[in-house]
Symmetry: C2
Subunit: 295 residues, 2 copies
């Protein structure tokens, strides 16, 4: 049974397109409308089964929607919310998928007068190295953590409908305060990206280190090969939390370095890290095969 009559997805790229495919494949919406800047994206999204119909006009596209998902790049979420909010019914739910939340949630809530559509910040922890509708897949959210960031202003009913949707997508809803969200993803997503990029500097092209790079190094640096534009924007939007996460990481790394240099408690530190990693993997089964690493 559909959870929503009409869902409109603004931005049918990797995340928006995958969401449309999953909604349609699982019968969770009676109709999925797509909004894209380029008409050819609409054609591709329809061909790939991500939407029932599409439009280049956001105001028209969100008309009559029970749920509107802003799946644009992070910097466009607030401008797009400003554009579509006047066209939403008061029972509608507005959500986004941006990987930074505090500033976006504060700004969108400031836009919406009392009685306007409810805004529930969202962030599915899913993605691939691909981008755009061509990389979209109905299975993208399978077993993924899907963060929701309601505030005291968010109607509880809207949060519960979003949680039900996330579960129906096969994902795991986790609620977090927006600022807490930004600190958390700075640590587990944005920091690992910067580490991977910095790690490339220790194996400059043409050096013996680059010649020796095997699957472990390719795995450790994989995310550094992603398109820079989106990541640079995310890092700027979440700069303070990332700088703070970098500080924590630097201290952690110094503990390992000190233990290795002095020969004191080194194995115990490694074992603590190993136990934490095993607990985390148990809690969140990672899709896909294990990568090689011991060399």
């Amino acid at each position: 049974m559909p959870l929503f009559e009409r869902v409109t997805i603004v931005g049918v790229g990797l995340i928006g397109g995958s969401l449309g495919m999953a909604l349609r494949a699982r019968g969770l919406a009676r109709e999925v409308v797509g909004v894209a800047r380029a008409p050819e994206t609409i054609v591709t999204a329809r061909d790939r089964g991500a939407i029932d119909r599409g439009t280049v006009d956001p105001a028209f596209g969100v008309g009559g929607a029970e749920l509107v998902v802003l799946a644009t790049p992070p910097a466009l979420v607030v401008p797009m919310a400003r554009r579509v909010l006047p066209h939403l019914g008061r029972d509608a739910i507005l959500t986004d998928v941006a990987s930074v939340k505090a500033e976006i949630v504060r700004s969108v809530e400031a836009l919406a007068p009392p009685g306007a559509a409810a805004f529930v910040g969202g962030h599915p922890m899913a993605g691939t190295e691909g981008r755009g509708i061509g990389a979209a897949a109905a299975t993208l959210f399978d077993r993924a953590v899907y963060l929701l960031t309601p505030t005291e202003r968010t109607p509880r009913g809207a949060v519960e409908r979003m949680s039900a949707l996330v579960r129906a997508l096969g994902a795991v809803p986790v609620e977090m305060e927006p600022g807490e969200h930004d600190q958390a993803v700075a640590r587990v997503s944005h920091l690992p990206y910067l580490i991977a990029a910095a790690l490339m500097g220790v194996a400059q092209p043409g050096t013996p280190a680059a010649g020796a790079a095997g699957p472990a190094f390719l795995g450790a640096t994989r995310v550094a090969g992603s398109p820079v534009e989106l990541w640079a924007e995310i890092c700027r939007l979440n700069r303070d939390a990332i700088l703070s996460a970098l500080g924590v990481f630097r201290e952690e790394l110094a503990r390992f370095e000190g233990a290795l240099a002095s020969g004191t408690r080194f194995d115990a530190l490694l074992e603590t890290a190993r136990q934490a990693r095993l607990r985390l993997a148990d809690a969140r089964p990672a899709p896909g095969p294990a990568a090689g690493h011991t060399s």
Copy 2:
């Protein structure tokens, strides 16, 4: 056509067992003999097709071998070389698979009198999170970089036979001076391991960060879940090179941090890292699918 009449592998675990499987599957040795401490390992190795026959006695096992591969943990390579060298013919080749080389190569060369079997240090950049013969696979070396570390004492003919073997295994031989090897693998293997372990400290169990951890974080920290014993030993054996690699990494990370904080040249740094990563991936096609990462 076999490249060797008899190959003896001392230590039929993940690497030794995989090597035996690959030698036999590709018909590269007329006979593969395994040496293991536990008789049940010999039975399993034979059952899995890694060896033709096995023994618990190293001196007996290496008798008549044209090639002897020491695939023991790194700390046992030198003691085992001392034990088997007197039993090798002068035309035999002795090699190992340890991921640290300078100290091992120096010590084994000091053991071997002029006219003894030739020692060629080796290090296949291949592995999985598994361990032991149960995790071995004939395909482990497919397209892997296989580092060889000859010195001025190493007969050129022995190096060339090893290179031919590596190529016949489907891997890519790369020659490096032993000290250069240790610096290189400190950067592309041992440092990424320590980074992964330290990264676990930014998402302590029970915190929002741990709750938000998705496939990107699981991928970035995967190697931290490996058995500690082998890694701790490797880190101790290559401590100085690892501490030096940590210093280089810290400087690289500081450059990204400074650029993010000041807003200067941040995108350019990320783009340089991205280009280096793409060139590396082109040079070394990684087996397996790409992992998720953008969240």
